[in-house]
Point group: D3
Chain length 136, copies 6
């Protein structure tokens, strides 16, 4: 069940083929997961989305690639995106996330959701000490 | 503005004092932030919440302490908890998060929210390759 | 700070006055809280919203009035609506919610948010035993 | 489809068996639902989660057990956790929730979500009268 | 899988039949989608929900019918409601939404989710120029 | 209160100045709102965010500019982003949104949030007729 039909022969469109080729080259794998097949219904949306995912997730940056995958999982769980939870958990495992790290990740994000509820329910006022603008 | 009034003299309650003493000892600081003052309206809730935060966030575990703070921020932003975003951003900076890492964190969590919307809007079916249960 | 300006003399509009009179009569109080003043920017929206709130919250129904207020708080906290958390916590207290019940409410809703994260992160399959349609 | 594989013989681990035995004893039922089977991938996470669920949901407290289940449903619906909605609706029914109460629950939580949107869209300022800290 | 069983012969209840007849007449179609079958477990809830959906979505109003469907999709995606995303995307297509408009809708809502995260993570203070109340 | 301090003299950085100049030219206004001042703490993040906002929101596309602003509001309200609600409501008014259209927008998004809760609480199965993939 989905809200658009993915193209039946996506790589017949040269713009789609170029993106898929780059995904395969970047990941050193022939596997194109469904997210990209579905986005191919609009080549422009596919191009921009992949360009951004590649720039943020597949390019060296201050944060470690595995940490970035775990952050992705944290957001995806909070937003309840089943597809994203599955794909980024698989990616995190592929980048070396152990079962113990996975369990620790779950401990942190579930505790965060819990204390978010407490602080929000109490409407706790923010301490002046936390104001970054006051640093200057 | 808040939904409970914090106790005017919280440490006159020995259960509250014991928790506050432990917070100060654990953090090596005299600062007790508002979250704990407000939770002190119910000493049992204060005790259990601190015990859990200490166990998860202030105890060595598979994930690095700074990574755990960044995951906390990711969840808190997704849930829109202003208090938590402030307190855990301050904690992450205290644990060494640089401006470049902070910007990278924002890049990852905002991209995750974006692609969450795309996968959810398209209702992309989960690839069989992502099923962990099938590994066995 | 708000996104519409409330009318400066709302009761000069007879439709607004009729709603405000009904709020005062239903609640046996002269206090009109800001939600209604702001909704008065569009009398039709004000009328329909008050009619529904009155029908659900101020009319006898299978659930107890205080339970309904606590459910309202639970949803408002989950959605991060500061205004709603304040107004419905005040309403719950006015209907007799004790500090101990308030703390218990926080315990339940924060635990629920926590286990929601765990079940979602693991993508736990729903047990067949939970399917209500199978009861028939 | 799930992100971890549940252990194939969970009770061969004595820590898992102890938790499952306690679940069966507490609920006076042989049924172990999937949430616990999946959490068994990490015995420590299983132990702590069950201990907390038991303390909050299966221990006498200021709120009625059925009210606590309905609050759990309210949060789970707001967070879109399908598993949790199913399991806690089944639990609420087992504790006596009638169809009329179920419908009333839906009326309240859907109205709350609706007025949350209105108050948030208008950014209605919180009335000073709702400030609990001002009570003192 | 669902949390209530829809009635096996819903139209044997005259209140349900009246609503279903009105749905068919309003939409000029014999198709009754599952949302209404499931809501029929409580005829009062069914009546009120349909009355409101008809008043807002199937009655001429300041906004264009297709725009209203796209707004419905935007909210449903943000809340992760799979059923609603499917039904309102189908409705938007039936009202003429092209593939290019669909892709543009996805671009806007995914960008909004992204910048929401940035503004929330930074806790950017609202500019005084945005205060509508100051207009007067 | 914010989590980063905006630069005290942002336009002394030529990358920031170039973005601000483009914002002023695109909007034909000297006003730079706080979102951009705060993002200037990381010029790269500022550049990419503005480039994307300009491409999606300030460039002709299949959807009308005012419709895009209203979609932005819908998502921002669902995510509870106060800053975004304020800035995009102001933008929608600047693009001609009338009070009647604003009220209609609120009617649609609050109804959507309401029926999202109902469909999610009932876990209504998606009708086969809504599957776009089946169209082929």
């Amino acid at each position: 069940m989905s809200t658009v039909a993915p193209p039946s022969d996506p790589e017949s469109n040269p713009r789609v083929k170029a993106v898929f080729d780059d995904i395969r080259a970047t990941r050193k794998s022939d596997f194109i997961n469904n997210m990209w097949l579905w986005l191919a219904f609009d080549p422009g949306l596919l191009e921009r989305t992949w360009a951004e995912v590649k720039a943020v997730m597949a390019t060296p940056s201050p944060l470690d690639p595995l940490v970035k995958e775990m952050l992705y999982i944290a957001v995806s769980v909070s937003n309840g995106c089943g597809y994203c939870i599955h794909s980024h958990t698989a990616a995190a495992k592929a980048k070396g996330m152990s079962e113990a790290e996975h369990a620790d990740l779950l401990r942190v994000i579930s505790l965060a959701a819990k204390t978010n509820q407490l602080a929000t329910a109490l409407q706790v006022p923010v301490d002046a000490a936390f104001d970054a603008a006051a640093e200057r």
